[in-house]
Subunit: 252 residues, 2 copies
DNA sequence: CGGCAGGTTGAGCGGATTCAAATACAGTGG
DNA sequence: CCACTGTATTTGAATCCGCTCAACCTGCCG
C-alpha cells in the first residue's frame, strides 16, 4: 500500500524502490492529530518541522480584520502544508484541520536534503510546489472571471481529480465534509448564495452533495460547465497503479 | 550598480561578492527584447531557458474561452517568469510584455545547479518562489473578500513596495504604464468600473495615475484603506544599500 | 483630416449581498 | 422519550455593487 504522498508525486514521475523507501521513512516519524477547526500551523508561527497531511481534510486560510475568512486552498492526504518553513521566518497564513486529521511531522533538515538531491525526489518536490502555484492561479481566474455557478462547479471537479490522484474516490464520489460556510469562504461568496448556487447544481443533475459526500453525477457535463481544463495540474504521467478509467489523468 | 535580481533577493539575505558575481554572470548571457503585447513565453509552450525580467513591465495572464483575460501577476525587473520550466513540460499560462521589455535568458541547467547549491543562492530562489505564492494568495483574498476600491488600492500599494525593492521608485512615484483595461483584467473588474474606482481613489487624494506614472500621495493612508499588511512579502532583511526611509521594508 | 486606442460618463440591469426568519438535525440532559 | 440547544441548511425580500450597453471625449499617428 502506497502512502498518499508517494501516490501523488508518482502522478509526475515514477520512483525507484529506494526513493519510495525514503518517502515512507520520512512520513513514518512523529505525527500530529488534529480535531476539526484546530490549527495545524497558526498564522504568524514558525516550526522546525514540515507538515504533510496523511488523513482527513485541512485548509489554508487567512482571517481578515473585519472577521471574514478566505480559504485559499483545501489540503488533502499527500499535500504539504508548509513548504515555506525552510526559508521563511513566519507563516503568512494559517492551516487548519477541517475534519479530524493527521499530519506527519517531517524535520526541516530532512526536507532540505531532499530538495537538493539529484534523484527524482527533489524534482518531484518542485513539481508539487509548481502545481500548487498553478492551482492558486486557477483560483484567481475563478474569482476574477467566473460566475458563482461555474466557480463552485470548477472547485468540485478539481477536487474530484485531486482525490483520484491519491485514490480516495469511490467511482465519481469522494468524502468532502465541508460546510456551506466553508464553501462560501473558499469561493468568495456568502453562505446564502453558495447554498442557492449549490442547489442549482443539484437541480441541474450535475452533483449530489449530502452527508459530506460529493458525487459527480455526470463528470463530462460538469467538466464542461465548469470550463475545466486540467493542464494546470500537470499530470504528465498517469500513475501506473491505477486501472484504466480510474486514473486522475483521464479527467483533465 | 547591482542588477535587479540581486537587489530583490538581497531583501531576503545578504550575498557574498562571489555569490553576487554568480548572479551577474547568469543574467549577462543572451537576452531577449520584447515589444508591448508580445509573448515572452506563450501559453502551452516550453523553453530550455528561464526568463528573468531586466527592464520594463510584463504580466502573467491566461485567456479564457469566452475571450476575456485574467492577469494573475505583474512582473517587474528582478522577477522570474518561468521557474516551472525545470520540471514541467509546458506552460499552463502565458507571460507577455506590457511595455517594451528585456528579459535575460538563463539556461535551465544553470538554474538547476543554483537550486541545488548549499550557498545562500539556492535558498534565495526558494524565497522568491515562496513569496510568489504569498502574492498569489493575497490576490485571492483581494478577489474573494475585498471591494473594488480596496482591491485597486491594495494592488497599487503592493506595486509601490515591490518597485522600491528594486529601487525603481522616485519618492512615492513609480512608472507603471498599464491601461485601465489591464488594471481591470488584473483586478477582475470591467474597464468601466476600474475607471470609476480609480477616479474615486484620485478624488479621495490617495493616488495620482497619469502618464503611466503612479504617485502615492499619502502612503500611510493608502496602506490603511488597502488593508495592506506586507508580511506576505517576507522582507525579513532590509536591503543594506538603501538609505533609511527609502527601504521597501519600511512600507510593509 | 480620419481613424483608432484609451479614457470618461450616464442609465438601466442583474448577480450577489444583507438582513431576517424558518426548518432540519444531532447531541445532551432531565 | 422528549424538551432543549446549537449548528447547518434553506427560503424570502430588499438592497447594492459591479456589469452591460452606449455614447462621447481626448490625444496621437498616419
Amino acid at each position: 500500500m502506497l502512502n498518499p504522498w508517494t501516490m501523488k508525486m508518482e502522478q509526475f514521475t515514477a520512483f525507484s524502490d529506494m526513493e519510495r523507501g525514503r518517502l515512507d521513512e520520512l512520513i513514518s516519524g512523529k505525527s500530529g492529530h488534529f480535531a476539526p477547526k484546530d490549527d495545524i500551523i497558526a498564522d504568524g508561527s514558525h516550526s522546525a518541522n514540515c507538515h504533510l497531511v496523511l488523513t482527513g481534510l485541512a485548509c489554508r486560510y487567512k482571517m481578515l480584520p473585519d472577521g471574514s475568512r478566505q480559504i485559499m486552498a483545501f489540503l488533502i492526504p499527500g499535500d504539504l502544508c508548509d513548504a515555506e518553513i525552510f526559508v521563511l521566518k513566519t507563516m503568512d497564513h494559517g492551516v487548519a484541520a477541517v475534519t479530524e486529521a493527521t499530519a506527519a511531522l517531517i524535520p526541516g533538515a530532512k526536507m532540505r536534503e531532499l530538495l537538493r538531491e539529484t534523484s527524482s525526489l527533489g524534482e518531484a518536490l518542485w513539481w508539487g510546489t509548481m502545481t500548487d502555484l498553478g492551482v492558486l492561479r486557477e483560483r484567481i481566474i475563478d474569482h476574477g472571471r467566473r460566475t458563482a455557478y461555474v466557480r463552485i462547479a470548477h472547485l468540485l471537479y478539481e477536487m474530484l481529480v485531486r482525490y483520484r490522484m491519491v485514490e480516495l474516490t469511490d467511482g465519481d464520489s469522494f468524502r468532502f465534509p465541508i460546510t456551506q460556510t466553508d464553501l462560501a469562504d473558499a469561493t468568495g461568496l456568502t453562505p446564502v448564495h453558495a447554498n442557492r448556487t449549490l442547489r442549482k447544481l443539484r437541480a441541474d443533475g450535475l452533483v449530489d452533495f449530502t452527508g459530506g459526500v460529493v458525487t459527480v453525477l455526470d463528470p463530462p457535463r460538469l467538466k464542461k460547465v465548469a470550463q475545466f481544463n486540467g493542464e494546470y495540474l500537470h499530470l504528465d504521467r498517469v500513475h501506473a497503479g491505477a486501472p484504466v478509467g480510474q486514473r486522475a489523468g483521464d479527467l483533465v
